[in-house]
Symmetry: C2
Subunit: 411 residues, 2 copies
């Protein structure tokens, strides 16, 4: 395994472009790559030779349809791997993913706040080793570990400040990147869970070709991962996308963040479960009455709703309508083409949210007559957070990024 905390970047912007064309195209010829990218045939040919040498891609079959038969290029299965870990309040979940977005291993471990940050990092380090062993992959092909967690944080330094949605954990300025890299001897990249999920969505085949989109990530907390002009947008302190703490009610209750009437207060899984419990305590009818109150969780509520329970469905729809208001606010500001709904909660209750969000956008968005905003459920399902974290590693190393063009402007 390689050491150091920083991921090595691919040097060449065009190499990133070609690798992406192969990854997205899945069976494209050199000629098609040149057509799709605007690069010259010679440049494509040179880059492909390098990619073959580095065993990142393979020649896989021949497409006989053209005038000349064309050799098809694909990402080499198992050529490179990354591990992604999502830190949430009750659980860390990890995936081992290859360059092509295939998941070859999964682990999840319950956590509690007693463990503290270092305990959780121990757990992730252990799970990393166990994943590599179980999958029997060549450890030298593991590029690094991506960590997704709620902010605020310093993405560049990999330092987590007091994360709001891990409230009660008393984590304070944890050097996640350095501390985990020290344990596993591999580069580590840390990002906001929602931003990670957005990067992951692109990597495993969702939101393709959409320049501007938002990934609404809903698990314990709520956040948005934003892509602008085909790049993840992180903002000035790398803390963009705090959708959960958008005021949607000026007279609403004070939130623990210091703001008032925050969106999260109205639509979070916590609120849904509490509202259902309260109504059951008051004797309202529901298929959930048979379950002890303290065992009613979000999964139970969602299952009940999807099975026709109207009390459960009402609370989920309320949450969805509130979220829709936040999404409209976001879409009005950013004029987005696509909203992706993902995260553990969305993996279960997504269809309900999709319907409400679509309806609201069609009815209330200012530009509704100019363009329909698409709403899609994340293609990564329950793995969205961990897949996103793994994709951070791949994106960091392989995605073409303008920064490396060394474009300068002081305007």
């Amino acid at each position: 395994m390689r050491s150091g905390t920083n991921l090595p970047r691919v040097r060449d912007y065009n190499q990133g472009v070609v690798l992406e064309a192969i990854r997205v195209g899945d069976g494209v010829s050199r000629v098609e790559i040149a057509e799709n990218t605007g690069l010259t045939a010679q440049t494509v040919s040179n880059i492909v030779r390098r990619l073959l040498e580095e065993e990142l891609v393979i020649e896989d079959g021949v497409d006989p349809s053209g005038r000349k038969p064309r050799v098809k290029l694909r990402i080499k299965p198992g050529s490179r791997y990354a591990i992604g870990a999502l830190i949430d309040r009750d659980e860390t979940s990890l995936v081992l993913m290859d360059l092509d977005g295939r998941i070859v291993g999964r682990e999840s471990r319950t956590v509690d706040q007693q463990q503290g940050a270092q305990g959780v990092l121990d757990q992730i380090a252990e799970a990393t080793k166990s994943l590599v062993q179980a999958a029997k992959i060549d450890p030298s092909r593991l590029l690094g570990v991506g960590l997704g967690c709620p902010g605020p944080m310093d993405h560049d330094q990999g330092i987590l400040y007091e994360p709001l949605d891990l409230f009660g954990w008393n984590w304070h300025e944890v050097a996640l990147k350095q501390d985990l890299a020290g344990r596993i001897g591999l580069p580590v990249i840390v990002d906001n869970d929602a931003t990670a999920a957005a990067v992951g969505e692109r990597w495993v085949g969702g939101a393709q070709g959409v320049r501007n989109f938002a990934y609404i990530f809903m698990s314990i907390g709520l956040g948005a991962g934003i892509f602008i002009e085909n790049q993840p947008y992180r903002g000035d302190t790398t803390n963009a996308g705090e959708l959960g703490h958008m005021t949607i009610d000026i007279d609403g209750p004070l939130c623990f963040c210091g703001n008032r009437g925050c969106l999260e207060t109205y639509c979070s899984p916590n609120r849904i479960v509490n509202a259902v419990r309260l109504r059951l305590e008051h004797g309202e009818k529901s298929s959930l009455t048979d379950i002890p109150l303290n065992r009613i969780d979000l999964t139970a509520v969602t299952s009940a709703a999807l099975a026709g329970d109207s009390l459960a469905m009402e609370e989920l729809r309320y949450s969805a309508r509130m979220l829709a208001t936040g999404i409209i606010n976001m879409a009005s500001l950013l004029d987005l083409k696509l909203i992706v709904l993902g995260g553990t909660h969305m993996a279960e209750a997504g269809p309900i949210y999709k319907e409400e969000v679509e309806q609201a956008l069609n009815k209330r968005l200012l530009t509704r007559n100019l363009q329909k905003v698409c709403v899609e459920l994340s293609v990564a399902g329950k793995d969205a957070g961990a897949v996103g974290a793994a994709a951070l590693v791949m994106h960091e190393i392989f995605a073409p990024r303008l920064a490396e063009l060394n474009v300068v402007s002081q305007f």
Copy 2:
């Protein structure tokens, strides 16, 4: 005068970078430009020769401080001009601006909805001619006309849809760009008033070196111009920045836009004036009681507030606090470094808003402990809208833009 509706782009990205360095630096040497931009001395030297030939810059004095005296470069005064016109509900205002951001002429004309779109365009065409004549500039040095107005619109095509803040005008799909270009025989560029103001702010010396900022433009309507990674961000249908129609109260009144509890409802100049009139009708004490109700306008309210009238001040502060809520929502999403307050209303009441917005950001923004968001009043003052519209022309022709690097990515 040149004909055609599209502005000719400067071909070379680096030429844009060098011109910008000269414009912003105002008296920089070739060596300094090379240092500031990362371009080689040879490249800078070649580009400067071209800029001198095209009479865009001049050699102006010598800086004797270095080991060798260095010739200072400046934008040539009067080298190129643009006209900017802001269309607002009651008035169109125009400026004639040179490449360096100096205003060499101003005109404003009252409009009423009886004129219709074509009548307003006639007016703008007339004012354009009158400005050029009055300033006695060489017409061949006038590059084009920028138009700023409330959206929604198609910026690329220069088509205005039914503008919300010109409500009652019954404008519908007006081909502003084509129709005005036909009248004046000059290229025309059309943009959202707030986006134009943000571009203008950069052009005349505000928000320098700030990668991510928002320009809150408040005149009759309310909108935000957004800069992301040093470029104006327009969104998917070129209608980003509709801050005025962000829901800040889920149970608030239905807005004419179809949404509910829109920010504009709570902070617009209209609301301020109506609230003051209502309170006066109810016999509340104020220095404004001597003025006939129908002559109380925003200027009167603002003057009274600044002169110590507490009723007027209360209503302005209420508006400012509501706006602050919208700005916090925006800053949470976009993690901005700077908020600029501008537009006709802000040119008068700006200091009151600045205070409230600063306070709110310091108290309630999620990342308040990581970075202080700066709040500044627009450097363009009352001219902000028209200056922004003129700057659109300059920006379109001269600003370095990544698009022309022909960077391709289908990721």
